[in-house]
């Protein structure tokens, strides 16, 4: 697998197909949810093939349930393998979450306790994924609304140990860090200081919603708004540590016009440019 360019990308929405085809240089890469391309044919595949010809591609899965207690769905792994063989993406990523239980698929990313037992299960799943797909995957940190009494690992230690045991990389979702930090009242900077940056292969940025609870705000990962200012600030701080990284703007609900998304990628590109200038300056 090649690597994603260290520039900005967008989550692809079919309504923006014409815009993207008209301006092939507008973004450095695009990302798709793998499960939306598991039909046999039709417009979805035709658009993907056309875009793929001019852009780097990040394949982002939401259906593997890597954090689940059960076995991975072999049919689903085979479907992913087929997509990878067909479109040769520069990156494949999935989530530290579960999304199916028994025979039911829940269409959401649900949280898991961080214990010795779940660590073993997640690592076994990631080994199987990397084995079946024939590539190194990136694992994304979750946005969470509750925690578990049984957790004995911090999320950053848990992720670090997963990368050590499986060799997988990480997808750092800065919005998710800010959401979880706010929801569980921990310091996002302390979390990032403990994050294994050397393993990060991609960054996600997105918007969130806010609900007010008696104890303070509850942030919800909506992917339906511009990236919030505190998330931009954290992003800039991350880049100061890591240098430029492939950075994706995600906007999945109430999708705006293409031009609005380009203002978001342009802002991310400014931070990337500054980070690469800072790096070469330091060198």
């Amino acid at each position: 697998m090649q690597q994603l360019p260290r520039t900005t990308g967008l989550g692809f929405k079919p309504e923006h197909f014409r815009d993207l085809m008209a301006q092939p240089g507008a973004i450095g890469f695009f990302e798709i949810h793998a499960e939306n391309y598991m039909g046999d044919g039709g417009a979805a595949h035709a658009m993907l093939a056309a875009l793929r010809a001019d852009h780097a591609l990040s394949l982002h899965g939401v259906g593997l349930s890597i954090g689940g207690a059960g076995e991975l769905d072999k049919d689903h792994l085979a479907r992913l393998r087929k997509l990878i063989d067909r479109y040769q993406p520069e990156s494949f990523s999935e989530h530290l979450a579960w999304s199916s239980h028994g025979a039911a698929w829940l269409n959401d990313l649900l949280p898991l306790p961080y214990t010795q037992e779940t660590l073993g299960a997640v690592c076994a799943h990631i080994n199987e994924v990397q084995d079946r797909l024939g590539c190194r995957m990136l694992l994304e940190n979750p946005a969470t609304y509750v925690t578990f009494e049984t957790s004995t690992w911090s999320e950053t230690d848990f992720l670090t140990e997963i990368t050590r045991r499986t060799g997988c990389g990480l997808l750092l979702d800065v919005n998710n860090v800010f959401i979880s930090a706010t929801n569980h009242r921990f310091n996002a900077r302390a979390y990032l200081a403990a994050f294994p940056f050397a393993s990060v292969g991609e960054i996600h940025l997105a918007g969130h919603d806010t609900e007010e609870l008696p104890s303070g705000p509850l942030l919800i990962d909506s992917h339906g708004a511009p990236v919030a200012d505190p998330v931009w600030t954290l992003y800039e701080e991350v880049l100061a540590w890591t240098g430029p990284l492939p950075t994706l703007i995600e906007w999945d609900t109430d999708v705006p016009e293409f031009a609005v998304l380009l203002t978001e990628t342009a802002r991310a590109q400014q931070y990337l440019d500054r980070a690469s200038a800072g790096k070469s300056h330091a060198a």
Binding site: E35, G41, A46, A104, W105, N107, L112
Partner: protein, 250 residues
């Protein structure tokens, strides 16, 4: 000795059960423990809302016919009994028509199941395999009676006891109102080479000929039911014949 669930599986099981209940699961916590219920509710809402909207996206006319609030309440029941079986959401909803046919609160709208079958067939046509149409001169054969045609994988031939096609058409944007005649309705649902999914009304004869052709019968056999000219013209116009051959007479 009975098989014991791991603590991981136990946690997942309790969490899953609580998604369909009213209390958060044991073992789930938050810094302010009085807020666990409100926080857990985000997951419950996300699961319900995302599945309900996915169902509504697949069955938009059903949602219009019953109204958004009723659809949301009805979707809860459907989802609890017929959740997606895998993450490929574009296949989900095949059981919705049967559900509508047997859901007592909509027994006064017996046409809903037929409309749902039509909407589901449209969705499947969107994602069916690709295949290029033959050139029109592929039908220039010596023995037209012995001609066999293969239809595009997206083709489905729709037949409903109720006027489901007319009801569906009446709920498309920018459609002029016209009176709905009693059923049955027949339609060809398929995807054209430009990826547009067509839903075209058929007369019963053309429907019968198309069914024969789809089932691999020779043109001469299909013609025993009715003149096949209309059916062939329709297939050619929409690019739906992907192969031809000559078969032995039956």
């Amino acid at each position: 000795m009975p098989h014991e669930r791991s603590s991981h599986a136990e946690t997942e099981h309790a969490f899953h059960a609580a998604l369909w209940g009213s209390e958060p699961p044991d073992g789930v916590t938050a810094l302010d423990s009085t807020e666990v219920s409100q926080r857990f509710k985000v997951y419950r809402n996300n699961v319900q809302h995302s599945l309900t909207r996915a169902l509504a996206a697949r069955f938009p006319v059903i949602e219009q016919l019953v109204g958004k609030d009723f659809f949301t309440a009805m979707a809860r029941v459907f989802i609890a009994n017929n959740p997606p079986r895998d993450p490929v959401m574009l296949r989900w909803g095949g059981e919705f028509a049967a559900f509508l046919a047997s859901f007592p609160p909509v027994s006064n709208m017996p046409y809903l199941a037929d409309v749902a079958r039509l909407e589901y067939a449209r969705g499947q046509a969107c994602h069916a395999a690709d295949a290029d149409p033959v050139a029109p001169d592929a039908l220039n054969v010596d023995d037209l009676e012995a001609l066999k045609v293969s239809l595009h994988p997206s083709v489905s031939l729709f037949h409903a006891q109720y006027p489901a096609l007319q009801i569906w058409q009446a709920h498309q944007p920018d459609t002029a109102r016209k009176p709905i005649a009693a059923g049955p309705d027949y339609a060809l649902i398929a995807r054209q080479p430009d990826f547009t999914v067509i839903v075209e009304a058929l007369d019963p004869d053309t429907y019968a000929v198309l069914c024969d052709l789809r089932d691999g019968k020779l043109l001469g056999q299909a013609a025993r039911k009715a003149d096949p000219t209309t059916a062939l013209a329709l297939l050619l116009r929409h690019g739906l014949i992907i192969d031809t051959g000559i078969g032995a007479p039956a």
